[in-house]
Amino acid sequence: VWDKSENGDWHCTASWKTHSGSVWRVTWAHPEFGQVLASCSFDRTAAVWEEIVGESNDKLRGQSHWVKRTTLVDSRTSVTDVKFAPKHMGLMLATCSADGVVRIYEAPDVMNLSQWSLQHEISCKLSCSCISWNPSSSRAHSPMIAVGSDDNSPNILAKVQIYEYNENTRKYAKAEALMTVTDPVHDIAFAPNLGRSFHILAVATKDVRIFTLKPLRKEVTSSGGLTKFEIHIVAQFDNHNSQVWRVSWNITGTVLASSGDDGCVRLWKANYMDNWKCTGILKGNGSPVNGSSQQGIFNASLGSANTSLQNSLNGSSASRYFFPPLDSPRAGSRWSSHAQLLPPPPLIEQSCDADTANLQYPHPRRRCVSRPLNLLPENEGV
């Protein structure tokens, strides 16, 4: 566990070995419940941890203590994901296992983290790899959980299932399955709900996919209403060109980050016309790919370096939204060549005696100053 100090540095304040197998996932509970973590592991258990405020000496030495409050041992196979439910549902978490069972636990007394009771066991029939709670706290939406499967056997079974809580039966039941997702799914994430009536779900599989699920009127069956959904795919990106392992949303559900076997993290955003496109690519160490410039205030949005891309789904060539990467100054371009060949901008050398009423700054088109709005400056080193 890392803590951020007052001067903005991150320090590792606790590190402990506990599970007897790989730890697959860790997740935070909402701070309303205190400093609480959950972990899940290959060793078939999930655990809930709480930070204990220790002696003041420890604080000074930058150490924190975590105690295990409970171990959930119901699973007979590797527990592949653990996620806390949205806070409005109380202190609740869900786990999923390699044998396809999703378990939902609740701690009835939020002040007592050692008491958890198993409330639901859902059998998904396929080996589960990931789960995501729908964060919507709207009364119009019942609690909902999406489950992804990485089942590898050759079949065309839907690898994403949506389970919804039925108020009448007091059980979770399968509401939907995304039939178009037939490849192993590695991660899944509902986007924050901005008061929309429909839900947005991101799926990490052999590519990045974004779905919308629009609830249709609830069907009145004997078991009481189960929502039916209208499902649309609003984006599909294969830029990673390899398995996509994780997807994660920003606070407002407007940017999606994905990571893949190509060693890159990609950021996706919908523009104001509602078309999703790539707005950034990062290497494993966080540095931007293709030298999207770090300097200056206003750097061109390079977006995807793969203009070859895309996305028939998104229709128009996304290249309209991007500028092609500038590898070298274009022949004939006044700017580029001048910026490279001429001596440093006289701007610095000449004293500025302009009176403020008529501030004259080097015109942005000034040959000597490096292209202002131009993309991609100087490839460092060129």
């Binding site: 606070i251 707005t279 931007p288 205030i297 993309l375």
Partner: protein, 617 residues
């Protein structure tokens, strides 16, 4: 677009291979020199939102133009600061950065200025040209050094760049200055006096649009026709034949494209060329005609040698009155949403943008403002500006604010209170509750019960208040004293939040009364706590034990009736206690009960006597 930030390694100090990287976007908000831009533009933005729309027509337009000018002056002020930073730093990398940023700010101001002329002011034919001339003069300063050099030389007319400077003035329509320079040439070369006089006269007489309503366009056009023909005659007569410079100037006056294009290097940009062309061929150009001239100017100027660049495309879109295109292109090219958000908002106030129905915000204005404000929230203090922007996004502003404000790190109490105030002002009850709960939890974990209690009271969280009160009481039982007396003593009406809290408050009051030796009142209170069931059963034993010293005072404090009540309480407690076994086995408990029974009995005896006695006066 995301930029690298700090790197986190593993703990222990020894540098090991880093596995976790912290990346941040929108580094712009951390640039100190841009702070002024963000802060001051926020003020202008708020003023615009609040400005009355009662003003109609011309006054409203004047108001909006002023807002636009204010924005531009903020940009210029920022450029000034950035420029100062550039010349004062010794670090060449920083210098480079600052200069680039100055360039970019300059480009932004260029674009904004043009948008102001075309969209906000919506200059009509006539004034349009004058505005464009101003615009060009303000933004093309490549030639300033040349001008200065020539003007400050001993003998300007002998300077090798003399004619260049004259040309520059002519190209920019700065007739007086051109004529002034020419007069120096004339006095130096008497032989060309004749030519000079004619040229000077032509330049003096050139009809230009005026800002006032002193002439109609038709009048201007007529005058201009005549003048144009006059220039034509002189040129054809060969008046200037012996002086190629002057002849070329005359051609320029006639709007000869080739002649103007020859001076490409002095104009440096196609839009300068455009304005010069318009000045000398079509000074009464109408706004809607600009697009044709713009396109052809760009084509002629670039001449197939180079292709248009982002800035060119943006300006072209503006000349074509494609506002949405301008905004879109700017959004692509600029990584920070500042520019497009504020410009779009202004254009929206000018009622120039049609609403598209969007998923992210009801229109482009809202979309851009949401983006900009969201970016501000990652900054430790600029987020407060973001709040105001969200307030003015009618569709998604509130929910964006709710989501963002919950994520602000509440590193100090002051910050938490600041955030709370903002939420309370906007009736964001859930966020208030959540923040208070988080702070209460934090305090509780750190055993700061007083702080935890205050936060739960603020959150109106009865359950948590009960929990904390229990802790207080437990503490008291263990240690025999209260912590955070100040807080408990001054609970006031918030005491009523939860029964347990009420009890805590009242119990503390009992102790106070006892400390002030106001025994009868204390006694009454103590009894009420039990009989009115304010005290939890678990606490009765403690209360009864507290009664002991009152029972053993020299003076009789409890009345007979009160004593009976106390006895009843004791019996209720011991009889109805499920842990009767425990009671009987526990020696301490048994002893306590015995003592109480004894004390109660004794008190009863005394009080019966006292009450039965007729007191002497």
């Amino acid at each position: 677009r995301a930029l690298t930030g700090s790197v986190a390694g593993t703990g222990e100090g020894a540098p090991s291979t880093s596995r976790v990287f912290v990346v941040r976007r929108d580094q712009d908000i951390y640039i100190q020199t841009l702070r002024k831009l963000f802060n001051e533009s926020h003020g202008i933005f708020m003023g615009l939102q609040r400005s009355e729309e009662e003003l109609a027509g011309k006054s409203r337009k004047a108001q909006l133009v002023q807002v636009s000018k204010n924005y531009r002056s903020v940009i210029r002020a920022c450029m000034e600061d950035m420029h100062q930073a550039a010349i004062s730093t010794r670090d060449p990398a920083l210098q480079g950065q600052y200069s680039t940023q100055v360039s970019i700010l300059s480009a932004m101001e260029l674009i904004w200025n043009l948008c102001e002329i075309l969209f906000v002011e919506a200059a009509a034919a006539g004034p349009l040209l004058l505005r464009l001339l101003d615009w060009v003069r303000l933004h093309v300063c490549d030639v300033d050094s040349m001008v200065r050099e020539v003007l400050s030389s001993e003998n300007p007319s002998k300077h090798k760049l003399f004619w260049n400077v004259v040309d520059i003035f002519v190209l920019q329509g700065r007739m007086d200055e051109a004529r002034h320079l020419l007069s120096k040439e004339a006095s130096a070369n008497p032989t060309s006096m004749n030519m000079y006089k004619i040229l000077d006269d032509l330049m003096k007489k050139m009809p230009v649009p005026s800002l006032g309503n002193t002439q109609t366009l038709t009048e201007l056009e007529l005058k201009w026709q005549h003048w144009h023909e006059e220039c034509q005659r002189y040129l054809q007569d060969g008046t200037f034949a012996s002086n190629p410079h002057m002849e070329s100037i005359c051609k320029v006056l006639l709007g000869d494209e080739d002649a103007i294009l020859e001076k490409k290097e002095l104009m440096t940009t196609w839009y300068h060329f455009l304005v010069t062309r318009l000045l000398y061929s079509h000074p009464t150009v109408k706004p809607m005609e600009l697009r044709f001239y713009a396109q052809s100017s760009m084509d002629l100027f670039l001449g197939g040698e180079s292709s248009p660049e982002p800035l060119d495309m943006i300006l072209m879109a503006a000349f074509e009155f494609e506002m949405h295109q301008v905004i879109k292109e700017c959004s692509i090219v600029l990584s920070n949403w500042w520019f497009v958000a504020h410009l779009t908002d202004l254009l929206d106030h000018c009622k120039l943008l049609q609403s598209h129905n969007l998923y992210f915000g009801s229109n482009m204005r809202e979309f851009l403002l949401l983006e900009y404000a969201s970016g501000l929230f990652s900054h430790h203090s600029l987020w407060q500006l973001g709040v105001d922007y969200f307030d003015h996004c009618p569709q998604y502003g509130r929910v964006y604010l709710e989501l963002h404000i919950e994520r602000i790190p509440l590193s100090t109490e002051q910050k938490a209170l600041k955030v709370l105030r903002i939420c309370e002002q906007r009736q964001m009850h859930e966020q208030v509750r959540s923040i208070c709960k988080i702070m209460a939890m934090k305090a509780l974990r750190n055993n700061r019960l007083g702080s935890a209690l205050s936060w739960s009271i603020r959150a109106k969280d009865a359950a948590f208040a009960t929990l904390i009160s229990d802790r207080f009481l437990k503490d008291y039982c263990e240690r025999g004293c209260f912590s955070d007396l100040d807080l408990i003593d001054n609970l006031g009406p918030s005491m009523l939040l939860s029964d347990r809290l009420t009890f805590l408050g009242k119990y503390r009051e009992f102790h106070r009364l006892y400390g002030e030796k106001r025994f009868p009142e204390a006694a009454r209170l103590l009894l009420t706590l039990m009989t009115a069931h304010i005290a939890p059963c678990s606490f009765w034993m403690t209360l009864l034990t507290d009664a002991l010293p009152l029972l053993e005072q020299k003076e009789v404090i409890f009345s007979a009736e009160q004593t009976y009540e106390l006895m009843r309480c004791l019996e209720d407690l011991t009889a109805g206690n499920p842990d009767k076994q425990k009671f009987q086995d526990d020696d301490v408990e048994t002893t306590k009960v015995e003592m109480l029974r004894l004390a109660l009995a004794r008190n009863l005896a005394r009080v019966i006597v006292k009450e039965g006695t007729v007191e002497g006066s």
